[in-house]
């Protein structure tokens, strides 16, 4: 029988580590947090400065001039318009398409499961590389899509190199890459719904449109909200696809927030304006992400509850 004397008594130093343990464990994560927050605040400072890399001597605080100038700056309004249009179009189309595909694949079967895994592949391709793939396919001299377009009478269809169709082309690439994201989330949602309401409705002979709008959609809403907000947050700051496809062109057709900020920084070397653009984008995403995180947490708790 073990007696208390044989027990190792802790040294007094051990006491501190017991209380400090969680802090010690999360210290690295905390340091990364701080390391990211420092450049963030630097960016805030930049956004209130007149700061051009080409004229470092003229750097000074101009207290909000960068922001005030936006009001009369058509390039800024173009950026805002294109960003919202891009985000609105991609998310709406991806949601409709993703929901449709999820409904088609809802029933668990070998074929459906296989297809749903296959459909995930575009999502696993780097968006920049996906853009490159579509660039090859829409090349005017050998692109298969250009050829197909010519078959239906669209000769010399310019895809991303024409200002008229550039937006639609990048939206198409975005849809190709990210529809699977919405599809897979909604599919998981659909398959986690309780079956009783649907069985009861089937027994009572309730019309299927009624079941869809009054049972399926309301029960799926948390998933739809989370998936949509998630996509919206990413889409409003899309950079990879647009930059890889057209670098914001032709002209300023596709100068969405991050592309415009990138070009401002590296081409016009206007650091102040670039930072101000990004701060405005951050304000938009921050607001959205607060709504998102609330929904996301609710879903997360539900998922944990089922585990």
């Amino acid at each position: 029988m073990a007696s208390t004397e044989t027990l190792k008594r802790p040294a007094s130093g051990f006491r501190i580590s017991r209380k400090m343990l969680p802090y010690v464990l999360s210290l690295p994560a905390l340091l990364v947090c701080i390391g990211i927050l420092i450049p963030f605040f630097t960016a805030v400072v930049y956004s209130f400065q007149r700061y051009r890399l080409s004229q470092p001597w003229a750097r000074q605080f101009n207290w909000g001039e960068n922001y005030i100038n936006f009001f009369t700056d058509p390039a800024f309004w173009n950026t805002l318009k294109v960003s919202l249009l891009y985000a609105g179009l991609t998310v709406t189309l991806e949601l409709l398409l993703g929901l449709g595909i999820a409904l088609l694949l809802q029933r668990r079967s070998t074929v459906n499961n296989f297809i749903s895994i296959m459909l995930l592949l575009p999502l696993m391709i780097a968006p920049a590389l996906a853009a490159l793939m579509w660039k090859l396919m829409t090349n005017p001299s050998f692109g298969i899509l250009s050829y197909l377009a010519s078959l239906i009478g669209l000769h010399d269809f310019r895809w991303a190199s024409s200002p008229d169709t550039a937006l639609l082309t990048v939206v198409l690439v975005d849809i190709w890459v990210y529809t699977p994201f919405i599809m897979i989330l909604l599919l998981a949602g659909l398959r986690s719904l309780p079956t009783q309401p649907f069985e009861a409705a089937a027994l009572d002979g309730v019309p299927r449109s009624f079941v869809f709008f009054r049972i399926t959609l309301p029960m799926l809403t948390p998933y739809i909200l989370t998936a949509t907000l998630f996509r919206l947050l990413d889409s409003i700051q899309q950079f990879d696809i647009i930059y890889a496809m057209t670098q914001g062109g032709p002209g300023n057709t596709l100068t969405v927030f991050q592309v415009e900020a990138y070009l401002n920084f590296f081409q016009s070397t206007n650091v102040g304006r670039s930072a101000a653009l990004l701060i405005i984008l951050w304000a938009i995403t921050y607001t959205l992400s607060n709504v998102f995180i609330k929904n996301w947490l609710r879903l997360r708790e539900r998922a944990r509850g089922e585990a």
Binding site: A43, I115, A128, L136, S141, I144, I184, G189, D234, W296
Partner: protein, 285 residues
């Protein structure tokens, strides 16, 4: 479902076929293209019947490209090497930093723990350039410009929130009593963490690591802003490729195929965990 009419069955089949064609065709086409010479690629009308060649892959792998103007050096293999190194190292660092933190957040609700966790999460949704542009200057001061260390540190921006929130969920799924029982049996917290928490959360940690690898691999903007040619991963390198003179289209296609194969293979391997990873642990597949 059981009462599907034949017409509906046909329509559903048609719709699914269209969906599969739309999402699979580009992969299929680029794959074919990677085995073609410029002559067959440029042929009109395009044909899927051609005699396949491995010359594109050979050129990429040897790094030497014979053109009419002479021999051209291709850095693609070094891009591939950078991708592998950056992704593996980033995930390793992320696991070392993130798993203990995830454990602390799951087990010890201490003051400020949720704040740190949510701040990290919010990084996932902040515009990356907002942090990257000032970082270019900090990196110059710190001597981290165009270094692997600097890049790996920035990659934590995407890897760490993912690891933290997914692994935290797995730790939360372990009954606290099981860990208590091991402590009471006479083992230190460290032994309990190593012998109980880590093995039980093991599959989840592995899955989170794989997903973080995929996201790190697919990242474009970090290296675009912070790396020069010799440190660039495939995402940036392949883009630079397009503009380089004398390059053949089949070689671009082959480079794309080589660049996406690792992530596609990993995705297929870890597909059971993809839903959870993509939603940062909010939805279980």
């Amino acid at each position: 479902m059981e009462t599907m009419s034949p017409l509906e069955r046909i329509l559903r089949g048609l719709a699914l076929t269209l969906v599969v064609v739309f999402f699979m065709f580009p992969i299929f086409w680029i794959f074919l293209m990677s085995f073609q010479t410029n002559e067959t690629i440029l042929a009109i009308p395009p044909s899927i019947v051609f005699s396949p060649t491995l010359s594109n892959y050979a050129a990429l792998i040897t790094g030497k490209l014979q053109t009419a103007a002479g021999t051209l050096d291709i850095a693609f293999m070094s891009n591939l090497g950078n991708s592998i190194f950056l992704s593996v190292a980033s995930v390793a660092v992320s696991l070392v930093l993130g798993v203990p933190a995830a454990y602390a957040f799951a087990r010890h609700k201490f003051k400020g723990s949720e704040d740190i966790a949510f701040t990290l999460l919010s990084f996932r949704f902040a515009p990356p350039l907002l942090v990257l542009l000032p970082l270019t200057q900090y990196f110059q001061w710190l001597g981290l410009s165009n270094t692997y260390v600097g890049l790996i540190w920035v990659y934590q921006l995407i890897c760490l929130p993912l690891i933290l929130w997914i692994v935290r969920g797995y730790f939360e799924d372990i009954s606290a009593d099981v860990e208590y029982a091991y402590r009471i049996a006479g083992h230190s917290w460290l032994a309990t963490f190593r012998k109980i928490a880590l093995p039980l959360a093991g599959p989840g940690i592995a899955a989170a690591g794989l997903l973080a690898f995929i996201f790190a691999w697919n990242n474009f903007v970090f290296a675009l802003v912070l790396a020069s040619a010799d440190k660039q991963p495939v995402t940036v390198g392949a883009l630079a490729f397009v503009t380089s003179s004398g390059i053949q289209y089949g070689q671009i296609a082959a480079a794309i195929v080589l660049s996406v194969t690792p992530t596609l293979a990993l995705a297929l391997y870890a597909q059971r965990y993809l839903v959870e990873g993509l939603s940062l642990g909010a939805v279980k597949g």
